[in-house]
């Protein structure tokens, strides 16, 4: 393994600035690492030499002139749900096989402007629906720390790529935990911003009131730099906010005097592994020792979060995925008698089992006679969940706890029982329902596998989440390592 594939952004940026390495060398080292380990990890759906060769050269030209910023020349992987002009983008689905987007998503184009170099497109659960990347319409991705286990999901390819040293940073999306959970089980940093912090223009929509784009990295500082470069108002997404882009404010101020809330419900969720609990307790002790005041808080509707989520997200997905009809792009079954048959057979063949299951569930929840009992009820419970967080944040500055109740599980172990898979997100989906920023940072291991500490902050307080995560990283000395991949 080359040392170049173990660097953080600040380390790489320093070497690039003094011309000890070139962007082309840095990118080549990552491409070689992909060639070496990706046949085992399978994090990438495809690489993009048409982009990285040109972008690396452009970065070197900028650096030669003494221009560019911290992201200039930094090798990046992009989840297969973010459109990049001319690049095949399929949302991990056979229904979009061969689709080449005519435009680039705002998040990606802002990172291109900042000088990041796109290595390739990463695997994910189909339409970002899943917690293991096993629902990909192409192939499963393997956890770089144990190839027989899942990398989490849905952004499992992005998390695995960063954990295996195949990319320095990666982009993911988080609708119920799809950045934070794979980050936790792959031992990297992953952040979901406040709903509206990053423009969703050019993101293939899953659940529009929950989806957010965010970074994967191997340090909290790197995650902060990537988020800062993507954040901010975009006229092409009316839900993107024009609030000040202050996510790195007070980044290094530590937690002395901060109040950190530990929700009592979070330690009691179904399926919580004792080893995960122990690692997270140690992490909270480290924050206590670093000067934070640890306080008990309560989120009484935690037990109803999963149920509300599995009405709201499928309802929104059933509407968003109506556009995949075999007419405008992607798969189209042509030997049919009429257009309805074309729609129905195209969607049966193009969507995988989980996506069809969620469309059916969402369609049912929105159908005549059931709307009030399911969808409206879930939206009311969503209000109660948000109020729980408001109340908790009146007693603390941030909430800390486990990101995932379990470590990475064996491939195939949860595929037969959808509810057991859904329970992977029980600690993360509250953050989506309430629109909060949340970050997962590595906090040790259980059974030799990575465990993540989640920090949730009030809306628009990414600065608080990052500051706490950074303080933990400094106090504990726990760093995201690169897996050797045997």
């Amino acid at each position: 393994m080359s040392e170049l594939t173990e660097l953080t952004i600040s380390e790489a940026a320093r070497l690039l600035r003094v011309h000890s390495i070139s962007a082309a060398e840095l990118v080549t080292a990552h491409v070689q690492r992909i060639e070496q380990v990706d046949p085992l990890v399978k994090a990438f759906l495809h690489v993009t030499p048409e982009l990285y060769e040109k972008q690396a050269d452009e970065a070197d030209e900028k650096l030669a002139r003494g221009e560019g910023g911290p992201l200039t020349g930094i090798p990046m992987a992009v989840k297969d749900v973010l459109c990049v002009k001319g690049v095949e983008t399929t949302a991990g689905s056979q229904i979009l096989r061969g689709f080449r987007s005519p435009y680039t998503s705002t998040a990606v184009s802002r990172l291109f402007e900042a000088g990041a170099v796109m290595l390739g497109v990463t695997n994910c659960d189909e339409f970002a629906m899943g917690s293991s990347t096993e629902n990909s319409g192409y192939f499963p991705t393997h956890n770089p720390w144990d190839l027989d286990r899942v990398p989490g999901g849905s952004s499992g390819g992005s998390a695995a790529a960063v954990a295996a040293g195949e990319a320095m940073i990666a982009l993911g999306t988080d609708t119920g935990g799809s950045i934070r959970q794979p980050a936790a089980v792959c031992g990297v940093v992953g952040m979901k911003p406040t709903y509206g912090r990053v423009s969703r223009y050019g993101l293939i929509a899953f659940a529009s009131s929950l989806d957010q784009i965010g970074p994967f990295a191997r340090s909290v500082e790197d995650a902060a730099l990537v988020l800062e470069a993507m954040a901010g108002h975009d006229p092409l997404d009316a839900t993107s906010s024009d609030r000040p882009n202050d996510v790195r404010r007070d980044f290094d101020k530590g937690v002395k005097g901060m109040r950190l809330g530990v929700p009592r419900e979070y330690s009691e969720v179904q399926g919580m592994e004792p080893g995960v609990s122990a690692a997270v307790r140690e992490a909270i002790k480290a924050l206590d020792k670093a000067g934070a005041e640890i306080v008990d808080v309560t989120l009484p509707h935690t037990d109803y979060g999963l149920a509300a989520y599995y009405i709201i997200a499928p309802a929104e997905c059933s509407s968003n995925l109506a556009r995949f009809d075999g007419v405008k792009y992607g798969l189209s079954v042509q030997d049919v008698d009429n257009i309805t048959e074309m729609y129905m057979r195209t969607r049966r063949q193009g969507f995988g089992t989980e996506v069809r299951r969620r469309i059916m569930l969402g369609t049912y929840a929105l159908s005549t006679g059931y709307y009030d009992a399911y969808y409206l009820k879930a939206q009311k419970v969503r209000t109660l969940i948000k109020r729980d967080f408001d109340e908790a944040f009146s007693k603390c500055d941030a909430i800390v706890g486990a990101t995932s109740p379990t470590v990475a599980f064996p491939i195939g172990s949860k595929t037969a029982d959808p509810l057991s898979m859904y329970l992977c997100d029980v600690l993360t989906l509250g953050g989506n329902l309430a629109g909060l920023p949340g970050i997962s940072v590595p906090c040790g291991t259980s059974e030799g596998l990575p465990v993540g500490l989640q920090v949730l902050a009030p809306q628009w307080r990414e600065d608080v989440a990052l500051r706490v995560a950074r303080a933990y990283e400094v106090a504990s000395g726990v760093k995201a390592e690169v897996a050797s991949v045997a």
Partner: protein, 97 residues
Amino acid sequence: MPLTRDQVRHVAQLARIALEPGDEEFYAEQLSGILEHIDRLQEVPTDDIPPTAQVVEVTNPLRDDVPRPGLTQEEALANAPAAVNGFFRVPSIQEEA
């Protein structure tokens, strides 16, 4: 509340997803299991609680209506499974009279 096979057929029709042999039983069983968990929502008193559809406080942001170039016809059709004379081609939508 368990989902019947009739309901599965109805929902599949609404969602425009064809059913293949075995699908009805599969969805009836799996969706019933998920709905059984979801039914716990009925335990929560929500009479005076307003629904949340949008979680951050943004209301009707307006922008200037400035013309900008859209996709060309060629770009718009580039991914079409079937196109003819600048249109998306689809199977017949009406029976012949």
